[in-house]
Amino acid sequence: MTAPHRVRIFKNTPWLFAPSCIFLSVFVIWPTLVVLSKSIDQDSLFRIVSDPQLRQMLWFTTWQAFLSTVGTLAIGIPAALVLSRYSFRSRQLIRALTFVPFVLPTIVVGIAFSLLSPASYQSGPIPLIVAHIYLNIAVVVRVVGNRWEKLPTAFNDNAAVLGATPFTNFRTVTFPLLRSSIIGAGSIVFIFCFSTYGAARVLTGPRFPTIETEIYRYAFFLGNMPQASALVVWQLFAIMLVLALTYGQKDIYLAQRNLMPLVSERKLKRIVFSGAAALIGVGTLLPIVVLFIHSLRSSQGFTFSHWATSDMWTSFLASLGIALFATVMALFFGAGSALAIAYSTQARYQKFVQALTSLPIVISAVALGLGYLLAFRSGPMNWRGSLWLLAVVHCAVALPFVVRIIAPAAREIQPELRENALLLGASPWEVWKSIDLAFLLRPLAIAASFAFTISLGEFGASSLLTRHGHETLAMRIGQLLSRPGEQLQKQATASACLLAFSCIAIALIVEYLVQFNRRKGTQ
């Protein structure tokens, strides 16, 4: 929750949110309303109650998402502990690695998994849950890890001196301090698993449809738009419900401190943690390494020919350009919304901004893509087929993450710092620049890397937009995989590796920038 603002410096917060509000209205709410209003009818809307197959589908979608979330938290929290509380070599590298699965096209992850275990590969709910855990650990490591990094060790030390066992210590001291971030991460993971598409298609097969695969099937294969729209509405409703239930967890206020990660003195502990970290790294990297080897192999030995197609590098450049544009926009709108949340003192306004900026993850990618097709096709809004529209979709999809990364950091800035600066005669602008901006550089950089990688990997909504020759790398992978011939399949694998490597590179660059900045700060 917000720190007490004894002096309100920034009073005109509506202005901070206005650009995002316009952006979301035009590029998220309007297209969704257009597509829903065109096709929805009452019968389809309530078929989910009467039709046993749809009910079964909804039930499966819910329980697999729940189990996936529990599994992701069970593995992600220890991983966050290792990666945020202990210092060891290549910590940045491993942290960067955990982020990669999150942005890989899910069909690629499915293929990698099937390459890893061809014989025992069985489709069903269990592989889906395993894949969901693999895909979403990054969320827990980021969200919970970021908070964990800032917890002062003094509380735990005191508890330990007073005789608390490590478990009691975690339960009574650490967990309450982490609670809000765990619930926040859990709700995001649940939403992703609930609206899963690619992984469900590859890994569970047709016996276990999920809500998003059914939306897709009704819309495109059965041509039943009213039913597809009805499912979009139910999905929206379910996710809104999850957000409402998990929103408003009060953060225990922590003063912003730049703590260096701890090094455990005990040798045994160090070995255990290094081992765990290595395990995380290997686990994340293994499917990518398998893909990489697969892309290099031919029956005559190793070859780089699949990497030497000019098409791949052209679409890679297109991807980079679009991602750059999308990132700049997402930072502009996202930072504005995040600061609007942080600087406001009205809980209702904060809730409103948070809910509105969450919309892009609430709305099905199919609905968003079709909405663009219908909403932007005539008159002054005839933007169909424009390249920048692709960047706009990516920006919309990345926006909720940017807001969620920046807002908590902005709220944690100690108001005393601002007050002192004001007392010393600084102008509000100088205060903002020298205090707020300085504290926000790190979350801004992390948010930028999120936005950039999300844009690189986005496939669902952008594959429905009108394209004029400029394919992104993620779209190219989908296209190559849809045709027979070993060469094309291998080229798809090479493109997927390129995508994975770019994500690793971006995450690494940001980690090092952040570290560098922090070291400079502590000197």
Binding site: I107, R217, G223, L370, R377, R384, H468, Q487, K490
Partner: protein, 348 residues
């Protein structure tokens, strides 16, 4: 705060700039097609030289996506000409009022049974045909000294237990084609029983072609365990053309008694502002230059009888003598019932 306002204006300026550059040009046509529509580069140069019209190809997902999008935007289409509606989707597209009436005069060079499929409306022009058939992994069968199956009936024999992977007809175009081929073969009364036998015999159902062919199937790039898969009659030559390293023989072959005949059509999208130019383009798509490019790029059969097929295609692509086929209207009428019945037999 000024910064925000200024940036907002900049963004708005960029937006409007982009919108402005999107003006209609009279000498340009947009051809909408499915994702795997990748003809030779420069194939439209000749058309541009003859007519002065440039062609831009816009890809729009798989056939299902393409048609659903075309129906949603019917009357205000994303392009001028649509390539690739097949006989399983044709009736739906016609009901959705997607097309403006035109059939190319070049249909005189096409087989009568293909042209008949466009009836009664004459809204579209046939452009290619293909067959969906069971493909098998040659090495798998020769290594084990097992003869590959010869017919649909064989697939239900114990010798082929747990070997077949098919696509879900509720979500995949070849999956639906294969279901139709069993319905055409065993009739309204027999096909359910056949699928019960297939299920007992361990048929695996996956969602789409990519999952079946590249993950589950043992004969192509993947490392799957199943040597029998539903794919296309032209998949073997595709394996040769895109083989790595080059091979002279495909690793896969086709069981040509299992095939379902698919015909694809092109039509002018209703609401196109360049109908006259679009007619020229439809003619070009049905003419020899473009048609001869089809076998080795899209791996489909040309419909224009004046086109000679390339060697690699004639040697390796199966040309089934009597593929199963079905009237588009019958498909559209029964599709939902058939697929629902199938689901209750094969999935639940």
């Amino acid at each position: 705060m000024k910064k925000y306002i200024v940036t907002l204006f900049c963004v708005a300026a960029v937006f409007s700039g982009c919108a402005g550059s999107n003006e209609q040009e009279t000498k340009k046509l947009t051809l909408l097609a499915y994702d795997s529509f990748i003809p030779s580069e420069g194939i439209f140069d000749e058309f541009t030289k003859e007519t002065g019209i440039t062609v831009e190809v816009v890809l729009g997902g798989d056939t299902g996506q393409l048609i659903s999008k075309a129906i949603l935007t019917s009357g205000n289409p994303e392009g001028d000409v649509l390539w690739g509606v097949d006989n399983t989707f044709l009736t739906r597209a016609i009901k959705g009022e997607v097309f403006s009436s035109y059939t190319s005069p070049l249909t005189k060079n096409m087989a009568a049974e293909v042209v008949e499929m466009t009836q009664p409306e004459g809204l579209v022009t046939p452009v290619d045909t293909g067959d969906v058939c069971i493909n098998y992994d040659k090495e798998w069968f020769s290594q084990r000294n097992v003869a590959p199956p010869q017919s649909l009936e064989d697939l239900a024999l114990p010798a082929y237990k747990d070997l077949l992977v098919v696509q879900n007809p509720a979500s995949s175009s070849p999956g639906l084609a294969f279901l139709l081929s069993t319905i055409a073969s065993f009739g309204e009364d027999g096909w359910q029983n056949y699928w019960k036998k297939l299920r007992t015999n361990g048929v695996k159902v996956v969602d789409g072609w990519t999952e079946a062919y590249t993950i589950e199937f043992s004969g192509s790039s993947g490392k799957g365990t199943r040597p029998l898969v539903v794919s296309y009659a032209s998949s073997p030559p595709a394996e040769v053309v895109y083989s790595d390293p080059p091979v002279s023989e495909p690793p896969t072959a086709v069981i040509d008694t299992t095939c379902f005949h698919q015909v694809e059509f092109a039509g002018i999208l209703r609401g196109s502002k360049n109908e006259d130019a679009a007619k020229l383009l439809v003619d070009y798509l049905a003419d020899t230059t473009f048609q001869s490019d089809l076998p080795l790029t899209l791996f489909v059969n040309p419909v224009n009888k004046n086109v000679a097929l390339p060697d690699v295609f004639t040697s390796f692509a199966a040309q089934p003598e009597k593929p199963y086929t079905m009237d588009p209207a019958a498909i559209e009428k029964n599709r939902v019932t058939w697929v629902d019945t199938w689901s209750s037999i094969a999935l639940r």
